[in-house]
């Protein structure tokens, strides 16, 4: 009984944002919150313990392998949509990618997508610089015009062969090129912390 009263008092004196009298709802953790040991809120600029492609806290988390559709099937649809967009190579050709490795690049909030040739870049640094140059006009200009492309506000992710969303920079560049199907630049709250902390070299 006393303990309950103590808790009540504690709550009354608790400093919270919001007007007195308003009750803040408990935010239920999303289904796939990282478990106890590795749970650390990724605040802006804070170094993550290890490079983690964790689900953004507020968005609906994707569950691995659900719905249960084989990766083979998922990847077939990616292949077919890609060949609709770009010209299909003549079937007799033995070389898989004679003309370059073009992938789409999308950026959250940008009105249109771009395409880049992954074979043009020798490493992650060059790729990153190219992306920055390409999307500079879309980066945070709305607020005060002088906003530079702040790395910690962006995360560069890609979709691999299996359709999974992966953080760019984890695997050797050659391996990345061979499995990357499209790029997506995430910005804002989803990306905060991930952008600055990647092992981009």
């Amino acid at each position: 009984m006393e303990a309950a009263a103590d808790v009540e008092n504690l709550k009354a004196t608790e400093l919270r944002l919001g007007l007195p009298g308003t009750e803040e709802e408990e935010v239920a953790p999303p289904p796939s919150t990282p478990r106890a040991g590795s749970k650390r809120a990724l605040a802006a600029g804070e170094e993550a313990k290890k490079p983690v492609a964790a689900a953004p806290p507020a968005a609906k988390a994707q569950v691995v392998g659900w719905p249960p559709v084989r990766s083979y099937r998922k990847s077939c649809f990616q292949a077919s949509t890609k060949s609709k967009a770009a010209a299909a190579p003549p079937p007799q050709q033995e070389e898989a990618a004679a003309g370059g490795l073009f992938v789409k690049v999308s950026m959250d909030g940008a009105p249109y997508l771009r395409k880049i040739d992954l074979k043009m870049y020798k490493g992650y640094r060059e790729l990153r610089e190219a992306l920055e140059a390409m999307f500079l006009c879309f980066s945070g200009g709305a607020v005060d015009g002088a906003a530079a492309f702040n790395p910690s506000d962006f995360a560069v992710t890609y979709e691999d062969k299996d359709g999974d969303l992966m953080l760019v920079g984890d695997v050797p560049f050659e391996m990345f090129i061979s499995t990357c199907k499209r790029l997506r630049i995430m910005k804002g709250s989803e990306a905060r912390g991930l952008g600055g902390a990647t092992g981009v070299n």
Binding site: P31, R35, A36, G37, S38, K60, Q62, V63, V64, G65, W66, P67, P68, V69, R70, S71, Y72, R73, K74, C76, F77, A79, S80, S83, K84, A88, P89, P90, P91, Q92, Q93, E94, E95, A96, D162, D164, S178
Partner: protein, 623 residues
Amino acid sequence: MRDAEEGSESPPSQMSGDGPGGSGGESESDRWMPDLRGGNGGGGGGGRWAPPDQVLENVLESVLEFLTAARDRNAASLVCRSWYRAEAQTRRELFIGNCYAVSPRRAVERFGGVRDVVLKGKPRFADFSLVPYGWGAYVSPWVAALGPAYPRLERICLKRMTVSNDDLALIAKSFPLFKELSLVCCEGFSTHGLAAIAEWCRYLRVLDLIEDYIDEEDELVDWISKFPESNTSLESLVFDCVSVPFNFEALEALVARSPALRRLRVNHHVPVEQLRSLMAKAPQLTHLGTGAFRSEPGPGGVLSVSELATSFAASRLLCLSGFRDVNPEYLPAIHPVCVNLTSLNFSFASLTAEELIPVIRNCARLRTFWVLDTVGDEGLRAVAETCSDLRELRVFPLNATEDSEGSVSDVGLQAISEGCHKLELILYFCQRMTNAAVIAMSKNCPDLVTFRLCIMGRHRPDRITGEPMDDGFGAIVMNCKKLTRLSVSGLLTDKAFAYIGKYGKLIKTLSVAFAGNTDMSLQFVFEGCTRLQKLEVRDSPFSDKGLLSGLSYFYNMRFLWMNSCKLTMRGCRDVAQQMPDLVVEVMKDHPDDEGEMETVDKLYLYRSLAGPRNDAPPFVNIL
């Protein structure tokens, strides 16, 4: 994959316990204490018993040749030592449902005259990225053992195994009479390995590559050119999953010199112009995988729909698939064959109802139909109205995410149940479902053997009543008396599992995801489903207590898989300690992360004569 009966490697009596079939008819002689673990008595066993009458044994062998089903053979092998030996010499097909259940050495020691091997590796949830890369299921030790033991081997079928190019080369060189290779959901090889098979297997009849992951890192090899230059014995060539470009001229030439070819499934690099050419060279084809089914004009210009239709009209096709990048304008070209079609796979073609209906209205004899949910309930209604002979229906989602729009629902399921009374197998992905529709199907389709319903939103209830889906699945197990395979989804309480345990007496395979309230669910299943062989569970609130309720049943099962439930190391260790003939593998998602109670992310346990495997990667902990 052929569905052969399980159990060829379960040793008699000791492990089966009181399962159905019991201890078999043991010999009346009490002197004889079977020690069948030592392998063939005919070999190095040493003469502990008087050798049986050789004439009788020969007669026995001749009779046993007529037994083909593994189940019958297993029973025969239990009768007495003489029968055991005779059966072991006459078994032609070796079916091993779990490659880690027995060692290759032991298998070849027991069986002397095998011509046909079926091997299955990874647990099925590996298809959904739940088994980490590098887990195992290597075929290498098997090929190494089978080579010397069975020089007359003709057929190898592998499912979910890791197969390297070296393995394929070794297969190609070890078996001079080799005839059939079937790789389903395998990975680890590239066109190099295929070239070895094509080049060295001169009598090859079947090369079926189904949903394999072909390594594209290697440089491409023109494997199609490696087939023998003379007429080949090819009957089936399926390579739609080999998604890299290939030498089309070589394929044309190969098809032209393969008079026995009945099945041909090409990859998506083949446009209709090339398809037509292939069809002209192989008018005897009955199964065709149509590639992209869109135009890519060559020197002859764009192929017209009517020209393509002429090709189909001249064919004897019964099964069509492919349509990987279909241009719907070409669909009418298949109308001439629709009336004869028994199997149609549109599951890679994003068709609307309007595009489907004119085609399906002609397919009155269809028995197997695979389709994408883009055709909607309306498309399914048309199927129901026309295909009264349908036995198998699979409806796949275009957008395999939880919150996608979803175009098929309970309405489509209900329609199918009303039109297709002979349905035996259904796989249905949807976003919305009702108990009423599932109950209707249970009553209208009493012949169902496989019922797999995937309501893609987790924990989603009946869309009209808001109730759990317990009653729907309950009706399925109650009314479908032949049901052997069940996959459940949607909001489900322990009640659903009580039904399953009570009525699902023939169920061999059960897949559970995001379901149940308490450990009682597991207990109901273990205690009730007496024929249960394979249980795969994910993300359900089952703890060690539920796991332990299965102790006395695990030896009757091929395997149990559980991931993201509430298991701890202690519970898993308990099982491992009490069941010496089980291999208990546990895996953690984050190896550095100890957690409070040493929670277990993934559990895979299976009965085995081979003991803990020695090829387990670091992230697998065998208890």
